[in-house]
Symmetry: C2
Subunit: 205 residues, 2 copies
């Protein structure tokens, strides 16, 4: 693929995929249109057609999109035809919630390891996963070849753990720590901070 596709376009594809899956699995629909999808997502139909046009021709004038086909195509584009193994670092309240979360399976991800440094948590079982000592993390991750991690540690520990993850070969991190992480080029970080999200809304209140 020679064309450089804007990040903002990529960021919408998982939302399209999620809504298409809902249409197919929960509503039993077979076809949809950019108009219907746009209405459901609060996005203009022109935007959806433009976003998808970066990757090919998925719809037909008049009949719209075949949902199953478009789902398959989006899963290929987003590299979700394989299941990604994910390491979860941090077994506090939020780490527990993520380890228990049923929404990863069937959407391309499987939490395969949980690490913590708290002796009270090490060897604890969470939903079939045994919490491992973070001291063993380098070795476990290097052997596993894992590429993705979810970081649920205090801000004060987040950069050091990130450095360890990157050294072990992780190149995509979803971080819940309320701090900006420094990573080398080629490593992707996505952030989730509920306070930042709330503060973005209070501006408008």
């Amino acid at each position: 693929m020679t064309e450089q596709i804007p990040d903002i376009v990529i960021s919408r594809l998982p939302v399209y995929l999620r809504e298409l899956t809902r249409l197919a699995e929960e509503e039993g629909k077979v076809n949809t249109s950019s108009h219907e999808l746009g209405q459901r997502l609060g996005i203009s139909s022109a935007q959806i057609r433009k976003d998808l046009s970066h990757f090919g021709e998925f719809g037909k004038q008049g009949t719209g999109y075949h949902i199953g086909y478009l789902i398959d195509q989006l899963r290929e584009i987003l590299h979700l035809t394989q299941e990604w193994q994910v390491a979860l670092v941090g077994a506090g309240y939020l780490g527990h919630a993520l380890a228990h979360y049923q929404g990863f399976e069937h959407r391309g991800f499987h939490i395969a390891w949980v690490f913590d440094n708290d002796p009270a948590k090490i060897n604890e079982e969470i939903d079939g996963l045994i919490v491992r000592d973070v001291a063993d993390m380098d070795e476990v991750l290097a052997e596993s070849g894992v590429k993705m991690a979810i970081l649920v540690v205090p801000a004060s520990a987040a950069q050091a753990i990130t450095d360890q993850l990157v050294a072990a070969g992780v190149c995509a991190i979803l971080s819940y720590a309320p701090i900006h992480l420094k990573v080398p080029a080629g490593v992707h970080v996505s952030y989730s901070d509920p306070v930042v999200q709330l503060q973005r809304m209070t501006f408008y209140l």
Copy 2:
């Protein structure tokens, strides 16, 4: 304020505020520059100066920004000089994690109510908060005048709860439910879906 400030600019202000607070409270710094702030956040100094220029002149050529002053200004711009009361709907694993999260206080928010519909959870205490019956939510919220809510319910329940929240006067919702919510104009929704965030990264792997 007559100028329409782009959403993307607003979305960066909480990140600036978070990093400035870190500089002041954890590193004891008094002054900073757009260059230093940009380096720490992986954002260009020109971008930071341009973002802040929408709101006034906060720095001085040569000496940069007085951190305490800029923090105060950002808190005013983002309407964080008051503490916002927040209703949390859903007391599952993630709801528990959010109810326990210490990061809301001192950053402008206080979870004041927790609701659930599960008899096993109603009346449970989470960190000093008693889980209330969601059947009482309309009344409690209308009396309280609360404007903000965090939604941690299954996708299947999210729209109905959203409609209730909006009817009770809530106009800003942070939703962890993996579904797009329909809300009337003037109501703000921010989404957090770990799978969407992970899928945005697998494209690049």
